[in-house]
Symmetry: C2
Subunit: 290 residues, 2 copies
């Protein structure tokens, strides 16, 4: 399936996303060799023992030896990492190397690189796949299959770089969707970030009650488990997402608070007609969910 020569791929951050990419890019023949960078020593050792990567090495060496570098770390750290890697491309005089990021917010990272002389070697992407787990042990084969991958602001990247990254995500069986970074962040606030915040809030609500009701969770049903599942998600990943996408997330939270208050008012008034209306309206989500 891979139409280009096999590549050396560097992956910075060997967690759920980086680790899962390593597995499928190697076994599906896109990558000839996977180099890994991981600053957490436990994660680094685990990734080696799990044989997610061919070689663990310092960032500097990884940049030098990779044809394409994937930044798969939380977006707060990813922004300076991107400019650092582009700086290094420049210093090395490497015009053929490519760097991509996989972050869940795109406006800030794209803005940070906008006027960099090596901007065209960067392709901004967001593979929309994942689980609530993190770390190399959360990596799994086929994680990306069939999911959407956003390509943001591709007009600012070298078309040849975009083409190679398209092949990379095609290898992962992802559907490419093209949009600008700001539109991405609005949409992500609606279909991903608010789901996480509402799940965190639900967990906090129930945990507070649990303090005096030790066996409340005997009753936790499948519905509760699925709604609260995202509340297991990592603070390292989600704190920078929520601050970087602050304005969009606040707007969505405010709409959400209005909807929740509409339920509250209808229930407080014993207004069955209104409750029923709200539920029937919410049921329209059926036509949209796969």
């Amino acid at each position: 399936m891979v139409t280009e020569d096999k590549k050396t791929i560097g992956i910075v951050g060997l967690g759920l996303i980086g680790g899962s990419m390593a597995i499928d890019l190697k076994r599906r023949g896109f990558a000839d060799r996977i180099l890994g960078v991981e600053k957490d020593p436990v994660n680094a050792t685990a990734a080696q023992r799990m044989e997610l990567i061919d070689e663990l090495l310092p960032l500097e060496d990884c940049i030098r030896r990779s044809d394409l570098v994937v930044i798969a770390i939380p977006v707060g750290a990813a922004v300076p990492m991107l400019t650092q890697i582009l700086d290094r491309f420049r210093e090395l005089g490497e015009t053929g190397k490519i760097v991509i990021d996989t972050c869940s917010t795109k406006s800030q990272i794209v803005r940070a690189a906008r006027y960099h002389p090596c901007r065209r070697q960067y392709v901004a992407t967001h593979p929309m796949a994942g689980t609530e787990y993190s770390g190399p042990w959360a990596a799994e084969p086929n994680l990306f299959d069939g999911r959407a991958c956003i390509f943001a602001d591709t007009e600012e990247s070298d078309p040849k770089a975009v083409k190679l990254v398209e092949i990379l995500y095609d290898t992962l069986n992802m559907r490419p969707i093209y949009m600008n970074a700001d539109a991405h962040d609005v949409h992500a606030a609606y279909v991903s970030h608010i789901s996480h915040v509402s799940s965190f809030a639900l967990a906090l609500t129930v945990l507070e009650k649990e303090q005096d009701e030790k066996h409340i969770f005997d009753l936790a049903s499948g519905g509760f488990s699925s709604t609260v599942r995202l509340a297991k998600s990592s603070a390292d990943m989600w704190t920078p997402i929520l601050t970087q996408n602050r304005d969009n997330v606040l707007r969505v939270i405010d709409t959400y608070l209005d909807k929740m208050k509409a339920f509250r008012d209808a229930i407080a008034d014993y207004d069955s007609d209104r409750i029923s209306e709200l539920i029937l309206e919410a049921n329209r989500i059926k036509k949209i969910l796969r």
Copy 2:
């Protein structure tokens, strides 16, 4: 496994719960014969064609011919149905017949029957299993396996009746949990009702945005799908649950609104430390979820 003689079981309401019970009670040998009552003609015909029941008949005949009647209709209709069935037991002079309900709120239905002369023939239960789908076509085998079943206020029921109902739920592979009806409703508000309200609110939030962004759902990830899944739940079932459990649900919604506002404030202030604290606190849900 069934230690008593085989029984004729009447099921009032051939939806997800009634239909799924019919399947497993029959094939696992607890029921000798399943009689069904269903006022919706489409559901009634579907249940017959799907062979969920042996015979469809009017309520009156079902009460007369069943050893045990299961009320599996929305709780708003279940409350008058229970007293109607107990009245009929009395008129028929039937002291050996049993009726159970399967409703998601217990205080009101238990209160409605409290002083009925045939109260001891009623066992209040809540099998905590289900999906977001409804109707006879949502019925499935093994739906109840391994889940919790609440028995409420069993001291007000005939011990022999309780025993038989325990065998019924044991046949469905459910874990019995005993508590009073009011405690049940508090717990259900926390582990089930708020999950549904938050999911409805999430669906409404996203659907509002969708009006001007037709392709937002291309981006809907697995996280969104699982969090919003319960928003497909039926208004017929959930409207009476939310009004009957009004006080508990309002209290939980208020706590939930506080938690959501805590996130809102921390995000508005770019207060990464506080966001991180809230997420780490929410992560404690890991130790509880199966």
